[in-house]
Symmetry: C2
Subunit: 334 residues, 2 copies
DNA sequence: GTGAAAGCGCTAACAT
DNA sequence: ATGTTAGCGCTTTCAC
């Protein structure tokens, strides 16, 4: 029961529905006269194409589903923001889901996404339930896994090595003389990528023969997590002089609490963050952090999805795994 | 070209497609024997219903489209997060769009949303192009406008009075003795709600007979905007002793720069933020801010959408405009 | 309780 | 360049 249908547009402009359909998808394939008549009819009628019907007939939609763990902080919303912008330039709409770091919820989201016959699915990470892997493998839908490349991709993956990031973060602390390092994370049980970074830090510390431990908060990342962590560290641990964070947000909370407790950063406590969020540059002291190339990641995601869209075979892809690398931005906190 | 269709499920379970369809929507309306057979078939075949086809036939989808100005910061992504969670509890999927504070882009998004025959559209603010108002009024789709209630709603609106917020923010500064107040915002030309808050602050200042001015950054809200603003204020203005911000993010930047310039907050400079984001409680000093009841707003949005969904007439709604109010959270910055 | 039949609004050959 | 035709996979009367 649609207000205005293509048929009505066709009648008003005195052409056949298929000509209207053609005009909508390839305007230049229609005569100039017809173009004008049809556009007029569309305008006067206020016609809005029914993409559902179109999608049914074409057996695919121009929607890409992107699933991230969370939208609570600026972390993934910034990332989603980039992808959405790029995709929309190609006339693709973005359906956003967030899994709350739960693989089961991710499974439900994938199922829901699949039922829309999307032009692609963008996942976060390479860890999924078996059902997800099966569903995706059996579907014709191109899949891009992002943020992590440590595993066998379903289709293609683009991201960076989290273990190396963790090593680099910790090494930075070691290099400036830290002897007792703590990794602070949130929900480390669920966030496998943060866990990998923690592992990387741990390995770096072991290699350097210095003390290392980690604390994980049960709450999602926030400055409060950082505040709590610092209090735990000063009350329960001895002589900690360096902290690696799973997120800049947590690092910011650490910084705040250090100020309150008059702990000098970086002299008494060096801190390395992750994500290089907006405030990392402006806070006091500036936060040493890991910067990711979101633009590159988004560009590659888009490229993969577009090329699949235009019928490129998976086998044609030069490489199924792309490492976008990362960069340590040195500021005053470490 | 779908891998497994309902027809195949019907064949395998030896019933008709319409029985399968019925089972999917009202399992209890089918005999127990049939229920079992059908579920078995679904499981062995790995059937995923095609929502596109279903949507076409049913002439509506279970998708709600939500359009926010930005996903760059935690501001709206937190809001989207709440709504999405609530809606998903009702089996509704959320399509997220961001307009970059552009009414034209909003128009394109609304058009795209409408073409999916959504179960509802959630807009930010009450300012839209005429085309948007027309399209929405002509469609059967329930519309909820959020964040603002200052205007004639298309359908229903839920939000709060931004002018009053601005007044309250400024009054807080006046009450503690500020004599020279500046409002700091980002993209005030585009962000009409921030503009209203600025206006409210201005009125409060005028009523109290004290100096007031505003600065607007061309960039989107970030801590950097706050840093720039403070430098401008100390270099170009004289004796400013109070700042009202259009966002906590900006206030945070202000706080950082005050620290660097050794400006005491709140003694030399009192600061009021907006949004009561996570860090407002933990930063130094704690940020006095305006707290919004997102949960209430999300609950009302959901309720409106659900009731329309179940065939309630618009006229049945008790009130088309809901004011969720706001609350000033007093901390040390003002 | 179950099935047959008629579309939903559009796209995509194919023919003209 | 334009029209004709045959569905896409499902929901929904309406019989049985």
């Amino acid at each position: 029961m649609q207000s205005v249908t293509m048929k009505q547009v066709a009648e008003l402009s005195r052409v056949s529905p298929s000509t209207v359909s053609l005009y909508l998808r390839k305007p230049e394939a229609v005569s100039e006269k017809a173009q004008e008549k049809i556009q007029n009819a569309i305008d006067t009628l206020g016609y809005v194409p029914n993409l559902i019907a179109g999608g049914l007939a074409a057996a695919r939609s121009n929607v890409v589903s992107i699933i991230v763990p969370s939208l609570r902080t600026a972390f993934f919303s910034q990332w989603v923001n980039r992808v959405e912008r790029l995709l929309s330039e190609h006339g693709i709409q973005t359906l956003i889901g967030h899994s709350e770091y739960s693989l089961d919820r991710e499974e439900r989201l994938v199922k829901a996404a699949l039922s829309w016959k999307p032009a692609g699915i963008v996942l976060t990470g390479v860890q999924h339930t078996d059902t997800v892997r099966t569903m995706l493998a059996n579907s014709e839908v191109p899949v891009v896994e992002t943020w992590d490349i440590d595993g066998e991709p379903i289709d293609t993956s683009v991201g960076f090595n989290h273990k190396e990031v963790g090593q680099k973060q910790c090494q930075q602390l070691i290099d400036r003389g830290c002897k007792n390092i703590v990794f602070v994370g949130a929900r480390l049980q669920e966030d496998s990528r943060a866990r990998m970074r923690c592992l990387g830090s741990s390995e770096a510390a072991i290699a350097a023969g210095i003390a290392f431990t980690h604390v994980s908060d049960l709450q999602p990342a926030s400055t409060k997590v950082g505040v709590r962590a610092l209090n735990k560290i000063v009350s329960s641990f001895k002589d900690v002089d360096g902290i690696v964070c799973s997120s800049d947000i947590i690092a910011l909370g650490l910084l705040f609490e250090c100020q309150r407790l008059a702990i000098k950063v970086p002299e008494d406590m060096a801190i390395v963050g992750f994500g290089d969020l907006d405030f990392a540059e402006t806070c006091n002291p500036g936060l040493t952090s890991i910067k990711l190339n979101f633009d590159k990641m988004a560009a590659i995601v888009t490229e993969r999805l577009i090329s699949s869209h235009s019928g490129l075979l998976k086998a044609d892809l030069d490489t199924p795994v792309v490492d976008i690398g990362f960069e340590l931005v040195q500021r005053d906190s470490a």
